[in-house]
Point group: C2
Amino acid sequence: MPKQVDHRDRQEHISRALWHVVDKHGWAKATMREVAREAGVSLGQVQHYFSSRTAMLTFAMDHASAQTSSRISDRLQDLDPAGHPREVLRIVLTEMLPLHSDSRVTSRMSAAYVLEALHDEELRAQARIGMQAGRAMVERLIRQAITDGHIDDDRDPVVETDLLLALTGFTPLLELGVIDADAALKSIDTYLDRLFTSAGDPAKL
Amino acid sequence: MPKQVDHRDRQEHISRALWHVVDKHGWAKATMREVAREAGVSLGQVQHYFSSRTAMLTFAMDHASAQTSSRISDRLQDLDPAGHPREVLRIVLTEMLPLHSDSRVTSRMSAAYVLEALHDEELRAQARIGMQAGRAMVERLIRQAITDGHIDDDRDPVVETDLLLALTGFTPLLELGVIDADAALKSIDTYLDRLFTSAGDPAKL
């Protein structure tokens, strides 16, 4: 059905315009009017595709999350058949950090979305569902790595999942230039080495 | 000089009004006009005390940082004479997380400030200086703990400092209710136990 495809394309076009506004000018500037200007469409058209700023934001965030997932999948395909779990977790974590321009845009989008969600119950519920799904995915990977003997079985999978996700706190340090990408990657590698080497994993490089 | 004291008091009053606006309604609402309304003063008065939104924001952020430092100092005073470095680092880290209402306000203020700083060079320079100072303080504590044998001397103080600060990434997980305060504290304690127990520290509780 071409009409639906077109509708979706338009929404994505507007959603990308929103990302650019957030990326270039910050959250305070991301009004429907400014997004329309950036997308080169009328305010009425933005309002046709999105019933509210919240709807526009939710769509743009879902789209950004899908882009992040797609980048992760692409990088995982370059790995060996299944991929060593250390490498899988490294890819998942580093793609959430502003280490290159694509992940910087989605990272800023995500930070702005969380802040906005604190004051909007509908957004907050959406954001929580998205983050819970991401957290569950990481916990499954960690549980599997424990089952497969890549991580010591005295490690608590819930604690390890939360600690790994907490490392997204490199974001403000990177964004403000307090540390550089090499420093963040060195710390992440040291962290993952400790998580995985404790099991004396023979498959580890 | 009473006049200067009064000036400072007024600035702090307006700065607290800004926090409340950010905390209750989010960053997008934090205009000078809205802050004036919240503080119960005229827009002209806000403009008298702050030459720009940037100046207002920088003052409010410095004031929030001072409040965080003061909370940390208060909690450190309850410790033994010098305080075991594990407890000191635990207090520094947990006071940066939104685990109670005071730290929630300063944490939200800080997150909003970082996002705004990405699009304002003056703010970004200010924010970087503040974060570098906090990072340097944590690195000094870690180096001292290594010197004193509380942390194994094969640990890299730069990496350990960056990893500890990265754990402020618990913030969005807490703010969205993906994990609760107990889960965050359990993970932080597990993390600190590993950092400190490796040295087999006899002073550890």
